[in-house]
Amino acid sequence: MAETSGEAGAIHARGLRKTYAGRKGQEVVAVTGVDLDVAPGEIVGFLGPNGAGKTTTLKMLATLLKPSGGTANVSGCDLAADPLGVRKRIGYVSQAGSTLPDAPLMLEIESQGRLYGLSTKEARRRGLELMEALDLGGLERRKSQNLSGGQRRRLDIVMGLIHRPELVFLDEPTTGLDPQARANLWEHIRRLRDELGTTIFLTTHYMDEADSLSDRLLIIDKGEIVGEGTATKLKAELKGDSLTLTFSGGEAAETGEEVAAGLEGAANVVRQGNVLFLNLPDGARALPGLIKRLSDAGAEPIGAELSRPTLDDVFLALTGRSLRE
């Protein structure tokens, strides 16, 4: 993609890198080099296991960490040359929260709005409006320690939106919430984009969240982007159904791996212990034949599961590891 000067709400990053000085002068690489493009008004899910570099990348784009290398344009401002411009245009909702447990909500909302140049009155007005929109109406005198987990996450989003940013970073927005509260929050996030056109860049390690909420996914593993596209496209690229075979032991699974690898059309063959994962075109038709060949080779599986590919399979195929680990 051509390097644009960067429009409001968009992100363009090239070779964004973060290293730390480790012990004995060794360099510890947290993010190897990330290229990414986000268009205005998109909801992009940044997916990867814990420790993959999601939060580090997010913090670099939000000016909380200085990149060790690479360039980025965030909402029209150069990250290195104009971090203040970036700060004015983005909202950042951290995993850690945003308010003191014993502070009244409105006090935090007012102080937040004022730091973005709003008057106390305007901050209060927008705060009440946003709280209403995020189902927090009437709670402004409460303290955040008296809110439920879902309410607290929505409060963090109110704080991140008070200055009507063009682009919002959400770091693991639904971690620790029950399924109902998560679905409810997704609803709010989607509406935010639909009604205000806000670009949303969120990190998650939940497949269902990435699948149902994002327009497009970026998959990161070990500090590098390993896959990119819509969930449908990523799944289609797997070319086939997902097959999981369980063997009685590691040795049988190894034999199974050899057999499967020799099979016509089989792809993304990954073995973990005594379990074998692979993709097989027209799996339902091919499975009986495969099981017979496995039995002939002395490695009859003790379980077989065939499914349409999920994002978890995409992740497994891209990284050789399951996201659920």
Partner: protein, 252 residues
């Protein structure tokens, strides 16, 4: 921008503190407790040879004011660790607010609260028998404000740099005892052996205490007084500089 954001932070901290009745009550009772617990002891100590000459209250109250400034500021670092853990520090760092305003607003809250405590202390001391002109009291409060500001800034800086109560608490303890003993606030250093006196001379707070005592005893234009106030001012400037550095250094 800078002053507006400083005011925003100051206002938030102040409202948070005033909403806490325990904070207000302890803040007001503490100086009075110092006086009632130490006062009776003082009358005995004042007759010991080697105690600085002059009215014992004029020796004792400046010491307490310096102690108030130092120790009042010492512990605020715990609060910034709690704020960091709650995500408040990151939330403010990602805003366009100047980093200096984030610390100065916090320091000013502590300066105001310590100055009020200092005023309560001197009002109570007057009832006990301290007799000094009003402008001397004003200078006393100025010194409390300078020292309190310096230590609160250092404490925020240390708290945010360490981010752990378990490392911050021992650090405070390591500094508190030598500073207190070697400043001659509680016991006159003239009673100390030679080597301890030398150590005490190196301790800047001894000179701050001496300076304020000179003011209370009427030597306002003396070198001792100027040196004490100058040191306090320098500490405050240094503290704010270090504090602003640590706040902006969070983004690295």
């Amino acid at each position: 921008m800078f002053w507006r954001d400083t005011w925003t932070i100051f206002r938030r901290q102040m409202i948070l503190s005033l909403r806490n009745p325990a904070w207000v009550l302890i803040g007001l009772l503490q100086p009075i407790m110092y006086l009632t617990l130490f006062g009776p002891l003082l009358e005995q100590v004042a007759s010991v040879p080697g105690f600085p000459p002059g009215d014992s209250w004029k020796i004792f109250v400046p010491g307490l004011l310096v102690q108030l400034g130092i120790f009042g500021g010492f512990f605020v670092g715990f609060a910034v660790i709690a704020e960091w853990r709650a995500g408040v520090v990151d939330r403010m760092l990602v805003s366009p607010a100047p980093r200096g305003a984030l610390i100065l607003g916090r320091v000013l809250r502590d300066v105001v609260s310590l100055t009020v405590q200092g005023a309560v202390l001197m009002a109570a001391a007057t009832l006990f028998g301290l007799a000094v002109p009003l402008y001397v009291m004003g200078l006393g409060l100025l010194l409390v404000a300078l020292l309190g500001g310096a230590f609160s800034a250092f404490s925020y800086a240390a708290g945010l740099a360490l981010k752990s109560e378990d490392s911050f608490a021992p650090l405070i303890n390591m500094f508190a005892l030598p500073v207190l003993l070697l400043s001659g606030i509680l016991l006159p250093m003239s009673l100390a052996p030679r080597w301890l006196q030398v150590l005490s001379d190196i301790n800047p707070f001894k000179h701050v205490v001496d300076g304020l005592r000179a003011v209370f005893l009427g030597d306002i234009l003396s070198m001792t007084a100027a040196f004490g106030f100058g040191l306090a001012l320098a500490l405050m400037v240094l503290g704010l500089w270090v504090g602003a550095r640590v706040f902006s250094g969070q983004v690295k």
